[in-house]
């Protein structure tokens, strides 16, 4: 650990949080349909979208209609992407002549992108055509992100309302978020990435003749345009197999910094925008602080872990730190650690180093951050609503302790909210632990697990954690490209997205109809340091309690085993 390393971690997190403020303020305007400086260009396009799809932009939707729209859009996206992948061999822009994907792989990949997971069972440079990358993956990177943010917007309106009914219009939210937020930041960011070395070309792969006389085929493609939205939209699906570790996706420390800030800034901005729309700026600030504290703590823990001696280096009598297996020289331990914390704290899943090769604490921490439901700051939109679930549970338990029916942002938290919060949490837990417990005893499943012993358990647990959390990062030793894994992981991703988003929408539906209560001196304060501490405590204790036994059998025991092994050499 070095001072420079700590400075880089601090700067990265600081930039992500700092830039979220102006972006959040802007996003709030977009959510509320207010005018922006992009109107002259985008208004006409927006109108074309509504006109062609027959959407009345002024018509609000109740929570059920909103949810149905969200589901219908996701379904349409799934089918279109599935078809695109299955038949990419018959479609244009396929210079390498890749075959169509198998049904289970296409199923897994389509769900993966529609649910904002972007788990890659395929290897980008050897299985996906340029058309699949552009018209398939890039589009979903926008669409799934915008859909997630739309739900956050609906939730914000629900909290703002006083005995209301409408939570907004999904189609309008989807269109506006895409056109006014995601597209502009992607154009600017994508061009910056291209300038810094990220390829953006439709050229076929190039054969190079290396200095030592070997042939090296260089995979290329329209990388920059997809790379940037992959980060901003917390999608994380790489153009290449190695994802953000690949020098074409992430060639320099600066692109790395851009990537890290991009994958967290909209997550934080959603909270800021929520605060503005729901009339709860101080409360939103408290949530941002809670997220930031936990994120910084996690990044520090990973940084510490990755600078500890590892058995292989100790055994080989070389310099024993940092743990460079699976890491790039240009990033080193600090930039890899903070990247890992931010990608798993969000639902991004991009990786600039291989989590499988991390130390047990480093990899276990990454897994734990996903298990906390990815709320630090979480996926775009999804992080906010995941945090809301946590905040509601915290408010409920603690709120009683001030002697009133708990209320949050002026809305009473009652049985309906608790039911839905627990349902959402339970779905995540059941999917992660349930699938992992079944897969790990099935020989069929365990055939493709590369590691043996304790690390094998971590691999399996990480896989379902990542799928359910819609993260998409992996302990990549596990080869998930077979029918069992493709299917179960597909279901896990589906559960993680819709099994969470639909209860959240139902919460929004309940909240919107409630009267907005005026705060009094007897109301639980939800903006101060005390509340920040409370939320952090609830997140850690609830998350810890659910996953501690499983983690104990995986990363925790592995950590102690590693200490023994290191000491033995």
């Amino acid at each position: 650990m070095t001072f420079q390393g700590w400075a880089e971690i601090a700067l990265t997190i600081g930039l992500a949080v700092g830039l979220a403020w102006p972006l959040g303020i802007y996003m709030a305007r977009v959510w509320q349909g207010e005018s922006t400086w992009l109107d002259p260009v985008l208004r006409p396009i927006e109108s074309i979208f509504y006109g062609l799809s027959g959407v009345d932009r002024n018509k609000g939707q109740g929570w059920l209609t909103y949810t149905f729209s969200f589901l219908a859009f996701s379904a349409a996206a799934f089918f279109i992407l599935y078809a695109l992948l299955r038949f990419q061999n018959l479609l244009p822009l396929n210079p390498q002549g890749f075959a169509g994907m198998s049904p289970d792989l296409a199923f897994n990949t389509a769900i993966s992108f529609v649910t904002n997971t972007n788990w890659q069972s395929y290897s980008g440079e050897s299985a996906a055509s340029y058309l699949s990358q552009m018209a398939g993956f890039t589009v979903q990177n926008f669409a799934s992100a915008a859909a997630g943010i739309a739900i956050a917007a609906a939730l914000a309106r629900a909290f703002a309302a006083n005995r209301g009914e409408s939570v907004g219009n999904f189609w309008v939210d989807l269109t506006r978020i895409t056109l006014y937020v995601l597209l502009p930041v992607s154009i600017v960011g994508g061009l910056v990435l291209a300038a810094l070395g990220v390829p953006q070309t439709l050229s076929h792969y190039i054969d190079a003749h290396t200095i030592e006389g070997a042939k090296q085929t260089i995979a290329l493609g329209p990388v920059a345009s997809q790379e940037i939205i992959k980060q901003f939209g917390t999608n994380g699906g790489g153009f290449f197999n190695a994802n953000s570790a690949h020098p074409f996706e992430n060639p320099t420390p600066l692109t790395n910094m851009i990537a890290m800030v991009a994958m967290n800034v909209l997550g934080f901005a959603c909270v800021v925008a929520f605060g503005r729309v729901a009339g709860a700026r101080r409360e939103a600030r408290a949530l941002v602080i809670a997220m930031t504290v936990l994120l910084a703590g996690a990044a520090s823990a990973i940084y510490w872990a990755e600078t500890q001696p590892t058995p292989a280096l100790v055994a080989a009598h070389v310099v024993t730190t940092p743990n460079m297996e699976g890491k790039e020289v240009r990033f080193g331990a600090a930039a890899s650690a903070v990247f890992t914390a931010m990608t798993t704290g969000a639902s991004c899943g991009a990786v600039n180093a291989m989590h499988e090769s991390y130390t047990p604490i480093g990899g276990g921490m990454a897994m734990f951050l996903i298990q906390l439901a990815e709320i630090l700051p979480g996926g775009v939109g999804s992080g906010l609503y995941g945090m809301m679930v946590m905040a509601l549970i915290a408010v409920f338990v603690a709120g009683l302790m001030v002697g009133r029916t708990p209320e949050y942002l002026g809305k009473k938290i009652e049985a309906r909210e608790m039911k839905l919060c627990m349902l959402a949490s339970l779905i995540l837990t059941a999917s992660i632990l349930g699938f992992a417990a079944v897969a790990i005893v099935l020989p069929l499943a365990m055939k493709t697990v590369s590691a043996s012993g304790v690390h094998g358990l971590s691999e399996v647990l990480y896989a379902y954690t990542s799928a359910t959390g819609n993260n998409g990062s992996a302990f990549a030793g596990l080869t998930a490209a077979n029918p069992f894994w493709d299917t179960t992981m597909g279901i896990a991703m589906w559960l993680g997205r819709f099994g969470y988003a639909v209860p959240v929408m139902a919460i929004a539906g309940g909240i919107v109809a409630k009267p907005k209560l005026a705060p009094t001196a007897g109301t639980l304060p939800t903006h101060g340091g005390l509340f920040v501490g409370l939320v952090i405590g609830v997140i850690l204790i609830l998350g810890g309690l659910q996953y501690f036994p499983a983690q104990a059998l995986g990363p925790i025991v592995e950590h102690f085993q590693m200490l023994q092994l290191t000491a033995a050499h």
């Binding site: 549970i393 338990v397 029916t405 049985a415 304790v454 309690l545 059998l553 085993q561």
Partner: protein, 677 residues
Amino acid sequence: MPSAISASGSQGAILRRAFIDALVKLDPRKLTGNPVILATEVVAVLATISVVDAFVRHASPLFAIQIALWLWATVLFANLAESVAEGRGKAAADSLRAARVTTNAKLINEANGQVTMTPSHKLGKGDLLLVEAGDVIPADGDIVEGVASVNESAITGESAPVIRESGGDRSAVTGGTTVVSDWIKVRVTAGAGDSFLDRMIAMVEGANRRKTPNEIALAVLLAGLTLVFLVAVVTLLGLGKYSGVALDPMVLGALFVCLIPTTIGGLLSAVGIAGMDRLLKVNVLATSGRAVEAAGDVDTLLLDKTGTITFGNRMATEVIAAPGVAEDRALRAALMASLADETPEGRSILELAREKHGLSLETPDGATAVAFSATTRMSGLDVAGTSWRKGAVDAVYKAAGLEPKDVPAEVAAAVDRIARSGGTPLAVSENGKLMGVIHLKDVVKPGVKERFADLRRMGLRTVMITGDNPVTAATIASEAGVDDFLAEATPEDKLRLIREEQAKGRLVAMCGDGSNDAPALAQADVGVAMQTGTQAAREAGNMVDLDSDPTKLIEIVEVGKQMLITRGALTTFSIANDVAKYFAIIPAMFVVALPSLAAINIMHLSNPHSAILSAVIFNALVIIALIPLALRGVRYQAIGAARLLSRNLMIYGLGGVIAPFIGIKIIDVLIHAINLA
């Protein structure tokens, strides 16, 4: 305060009955409302089966037997908590039931006026009864004719008889109370089985105890946590199998029970019942737990000025001498003018003279009292040629022959000052000469201001309701420290105010007694009717104060808050406990197959069996240990939400994390010492 409903039943008898009830409640059908304890019982059954299994296999059953026993104990302790809470109510109900004896009612045939004797349980709504001195009133009703003094001690515990009369706000009588003198005719308002007494018995017995909204929400949270932990524990079967850990189902069951929130699960209903019980202790009867809970949420208290904020009677606070009149002469004149005055105002002048000036006089022999009359608007005393008068200022001026312009400026100024401060000036004369002015004012009860400040810190707004003019009302309001007031209030104004407050998202509490209060009582979220009030008022409110003390509203709010705080505190404690239990059980479960995990046995528990057993025992004992807290309630302080939260988080959150580490370690040392594991 004597009370029929809280004073009965010895502690021992209650406990004995509670033990029996706790055993009866082991019936799983009775546990369906409590998923946490039901789940515990299921595990206890499975543990018992595996004990039998161990015997069959000739394995050593000592560990299994102990686990099974402690799991059963956990369920039993939870049941006991509820039974003890209910026990107090049951004892109270028994004494109430004693009042509900079948009597013979004198039913009046309205066609011919004849009286027939009819058993009280055959009475119906609308029947007309005659009740005479010595009779027990056979049913609830309104007096339509007559005045009587009634002993209501069967219900209120207060043995001094009260006056009940037809018309007005004192017309309601309650079945089971006794007419002490005179006679009344009563129109029955509630048939047998539906009377006030019946409802009271049902309430204190908990027969109608439906779960309150917060209780339901909390139960949902607890059930959700139970399911989450079920998943966490059951999936260990698969994960453990991969790791080569041989998982004893008994141990998994123990882990599950330790993780699910048994503490709050076991105490939840006891907390609710105890909350109602605490209300009963202060002689308030709530028609539902929901109302008690709503009391904790109240944002605005509507308080009647008279009786709640002020003593209700104007009292003399000073005597201002007219120019040229000595101070003590003026006072003496005021005193003499009031000697024969039996009104509270008059008494207060004597009081003032005695307390402030040490002046006390007997009525001289041969004195003639001059009563107040509408024409003179003065009263006083004539003794041996000297006459003292006090009365309305202009009446005394007139009697003294003073034109308004001739009134001494000092006197006019004093009169003006008194009037503007909301007080009432009375002038005093001696032999027709103006001696001075008495200042009568509405005196705010001592301590009221501090109480309102407390309420404000808890976020409650107080609104004073009064029939006074705005000037007077404003004075009293600022003196009492209420946040707002409603002057010259009519019942319609009250109702409108409540609706306005509710529209702003506030919950409103009020108390009232008159029939014209009924709509407002019904509209308020918490409406406390006075037991002395009309039947309509008692029906409309969701609480009845048997002492008919309007200040009770404040205590009701506190009880409501205390109930919610207790639930939250126990939930926090329960969940926080899990941290330590993990550190006890997880290493114990896995350490044989994965020796490295010994590193997380940070409590250094003696051995795996002892560790698991200690956690289970702690888990069971903590319920017993917390029963008194659940019944008594967490101490409530009016220190504002933020400080209250941080205090409770410290005690129950942080304490909840730390306490089990200590407790489990101690139990482990004991178990090890006596070789149980």
